[in-house]
Symmetry: C2
Subunit: 272 residues, 2 copies
């Protein structure tokens, strides 16, 4: 049942830009930065409430490719069997989920290989709601990072950076995917040039409230390749980012610990 036609779409998109060659070269060139381990909590972390950053997932949840990516099969029911139990057929990139380095690299860390220390990290939230409202193709720039740091101080070591575009408000409407007549999506994301800036600052991962780390109109997944391909992770389709402070929260990415997974549905939350 899963994403029929999506291989064709991606292959067409990528071959159109000759991305395959470039990617292979980049992976070889960049290698994988050592993931930061343990360093995030030099001092104790304190919190007094928990904010759930995870959307409820059902088979109708929107997907990048526009086809359902979750099937729920009832195997047992309480009335008939005395207990309830389902199995799922689920694509690794569905709902609020983790993107691992392995998703866009030949041999980067998969979900089971990301140490938990790199998934519980300080969270910086960059508010681009106004810009994204004016321009759905807006891509976060190095200038947005600089502006955040000017207001909040340097990004903490091992942090995650979340893009709060306000796109969650469109969930349940066509505006969430925002496909034009040609099928091109229009929602904000990270500009490829921001990847080395964040990497240089020791950022571990990024979070978006849309269906892709790249902006929707991307034809080449440039940020995915650059960011994940250099040993970092991402979270897509996060919820409730507007409930968080610009700094001071701790992100918990409850990603699946499945051997060889390129990502997967996750319980994502913030300790505030």
């Amino acid at each position: 049942m899963c994403i029929p036609g999506c291989q064709e779409v991606v292959a067409r998109r990528l071959s159109r830009r000759g991305v395959f060659k470039g990617v292979a070269g980049m992976a070889t060139l960049a290698g994988f930065s050592a993931l930061p381990a343990g360093g995030a909590f030099a001092a104790p972390v304190s919190f007094s409430k928990v904010v759930d950053l995870t959307h409820v997932l059902d088979p109708s949840f929107p997907t990048y490719f526009g086809k359902p990516q979750l099937e729920i099969r009832q195997l047992f029911s309480f009335d008939k069997d005395g207990f309830n139990l389902n199995e799922w057929v689920v694509n690794e990139h569905t709902g609020t989920h983790l993107d691992t380095p392995f998703h866009f690299s030949k041999d980067g860390p998969s979900a089971d290989a990301l140490p938990i220390e790199t998934l519980v990290v300080p969270l910086a939230v960059i508010d681009i709601r106004e810009k994204a409202g004016a321009d759905p193709d807006y891509r976060i720039t190095a200038g947005d990072i600089t502006a955040w740091e000017a207001a909040n101080g340097p990004l903490p070591a091992g942090a995650a950076v979340a893009l709060n575009s306000g796109w969650e408000a469109h969930l349940g409407t066509d505006r969430f995917r925002n496909a034009d007549a040609n099928g091109t999506l229009h929602f904000p994301g990270f500009h490829v040039d921001v990847a080395p800036v964040l990497a240089q600052k020791g950022v571990a991962g990024v979070v978006v409230d849309t269906l892709s780390l790249d902006y929707g109109a991307s034809k080449d997944f440039a940020f995915h390749y650059k960011w994940l391909g250099s040993g970092h992770w991402g979270v897509e389709a996060a919820a409730n980012l507007s409930a968080l402070p610009a700094k001071g929260a701790t992100l918990v990415v409850g990603g699946p610990k499945i051997k060889g997974a390129s990502g997967g549905l996750s319980r994502v939350l913030a300790l505030v």
Copy 2:
């Protein structure tokens, strides 16, 4: 592919004891206690390290019914397609996972309906390694709870109680399921009489390092019915419980937020 024969096994087990009728009665009788919400963190929580309580999951991970419950299908590969992506066919009760009230009740809360406040809670760890080593059929009793409280003070409001039986040491060997010649499993668990004791103390959930909240030899899932059926949750097959203090850790159950799920693979961790 999933757990062939398991319906037959359960039906046989349950009908042998006439459990169906009793269960229906119990669910009607008990109703569902209101889940505690928000009350766990009256004071700020502090931590300085994270302990991963989640096992790596692959298709060979042992299951209660002895058949594989995870299939990983590669949909795209980096070499061929420019990125890696799989889908999973997975039973909701596989690997380190959540049991919701809905798993053993007609209409208790499913995974999407458990507020995050009830999944991030103070954790009490009860060490029964010596008892379980001497008797694999050991069931934790009200006396074990009393002994823990005598040493550590009252169980905190909204807490989770973990049974550290040391059973993790048997993972990778037949001793983990520990089936006898008749197919009966032998590993420790919670005694049904402990359920009302824990409920009365306001405990939200329980954690085991084995394949079932009930002890392996249970023929009627008595603890499951009593505990889950009264609006509480459980975690099965937790890892690393021996790395935790008896009290003072905060448990984070990163359960799946899937509509109508009876449970599911989770990232479970402790903040210490």
